[in-house]
Assembly symmetry: C2
Homo-oligomer: 251 residues x 2
DNA sequence: GGGCACGTTTGATCTAGGTCAAAGAACGTG
DNA sequence: CACGTTCTTTGACCTAGATCAAACGTGCCC
């Protein structure tokens, strides 16, 4: 099904300009590879999928073939319980990987849906594994990426398990801010791609609560929100929200 | 592509005696490897650590060298926030791996402490990676183990983000039960190794709430608990607890 | 084996956040 | 551009679970 042709150098140059931004190198592998290796690596990317807002990248239950790297756009993924409850497990932006949950059973365990039109690189996992066998640095990088997902999830568990509503939202906003900043976008003002309800699902809160906390932060001069557009007015203040809620450890 | 030879029962018996206690084979790699490969694999295990109740297997901030496989015993791991809040991120029993969070940054991000005297296999990660480069099936298995951790964490996020106290505890107990059963122990009666407070931390509840829900389940004839010893009286009933709390999706 | 620290249970309150409701605001679509 | 739909805000109220408090068990250590 994959039409994987071996490319010549000239092709590669062209390819890079075509799917430039979609190179794994740029995306998530800023590591010292030899040109030859990068060449091979580039060929890992099988498809360049374009996913429209609202479309699924994959659905729970679908067979696993590939990992996906977000080239541009914004996605969410969520698991749903039998009774229809939906728990957003992550929001994914440029340079991030999705689909790693599916390696475990060769079946996707969550739905991934685009919150805005997105470009996605599909990376057949078998190929990635094979290649990472010959390029140790890639292997290590793959492991780091999976490990990072585990660390991230632990952070969310901390958030869900022991933070108050205001702390959760502050932590969430700061995390988004930091991720945008790391990608060269403004970390102090951007458009939220998700609804209040989706934020709530991610944070274990109801949408009304999310809305109220937004309003409170705005009153306090920490941020300014109008609809999906948010501006950070007092990052230090936001950071201070986290942790100041639990005053009472036994003395 | 993996050279998967199916082992004969006799081989397996022999292998088990050779690399008895701490063999990765027994622990977590019940997969078709050639004897030669298993031999090499066994040498992966560097130390055989014995950790006493209350001892740390590792602490947050410690440099990462190895993954750990639990040979026997019971551990918890937890992250702690600046202000001292502790969030238990997992309980680990025989055959499970810990330490994968540290791959990401080469530093452990959580504390792992033994809840009872435990035997642990230390597996130097560099060696494991090197070996998995030459044994595709091991490589795949490692990836599956990491992916399984991600899936598990997503499950906890669902639990923390959208379940009520009773559902959380029921889900927790059923999970423990299933894990004991999968290891050949009774899934219907066992000793809880952790305190109510640790259960609470894991489930995002206070210890009093955990205790109250235990009592409620006992009154309802679902379980019988005395102290740390628990017996399951009505597994179907316990399962039914999960999901029956959210009756009201918009009709 | 006695004492003490720790873990557990249960009760009485309190409150953060959920629920219900309603009105506006933005947005995408024909 | 008008309309319906979806998203957001805000208010009033309520409840699940937190908090505070006290008593009791248990098991560990000297």
């Amino acid at each position: 099904m994959a039409s994987r042709t071996i490319l010549k150098q000239s092709d590669i140059a062209q390819l890079k300009s075509v799917c430039s931004a979609c190179s794994l190198l740029e995306l998530c592998l800023p590591i010292g590879l030899e040109p030859k290796e990068i060449d091979k690596l580039d060929r890992l990317v099988e498809h360049h999928r374009s996913v429209k807002r609202g479309d699924f990248l994959y659905r729970a239950g679908a067979p696993f073939r590939s990992l996906f790297a977000v080239r541009s756009g914004f996605l969410k993924s969520y698991v749903l319980h039998d009774d229809g409850r939906e728990q957003v497990t992550g929001f994914h932006m440029m340079g991030e990987f999705v689909g790693m949950d599916a390696i475990s059973t060769d079946v996707h365990t969550c739905d991934a849906v685009a919150l805005e039109n997105s470009d996605i690189c599909e990376i057949p996992f078998g190929t990635l594994e094979a290649f990472s066998r010959t390029v140790p640095i890639l292997q290590r990088h793959l492991h780091k990426i999976m490990s990072r997902e585990i660390v991230r999830d632990h952070g969310v568990m901390l958030l869900l398990g022991s933070m108050k509503a205001e702390e959760r939202l502050a932590a969430f906003l700061l995390n988004l801010s930091q991720r945008y900043a790391a990608r060269g976008y403004s970390g102090t003002s951007f458009h939220l791609r998700m609804t209040r309800e989706e934020i709530g699902s991610y944070l274990g809160l109801k949408l009304e609560t999310v809305s109220r906390v937004f309003s409170k932060f705005q009153e306090e001069g920490l941020i300014s929100v109008q609809n999906k557009y948010i501006e950070f007015k007092d990052v230090a203040g936001l950071k201070a929200v986290i942790g100041q809620q639990h005053r009472c450890q036994r003395s």
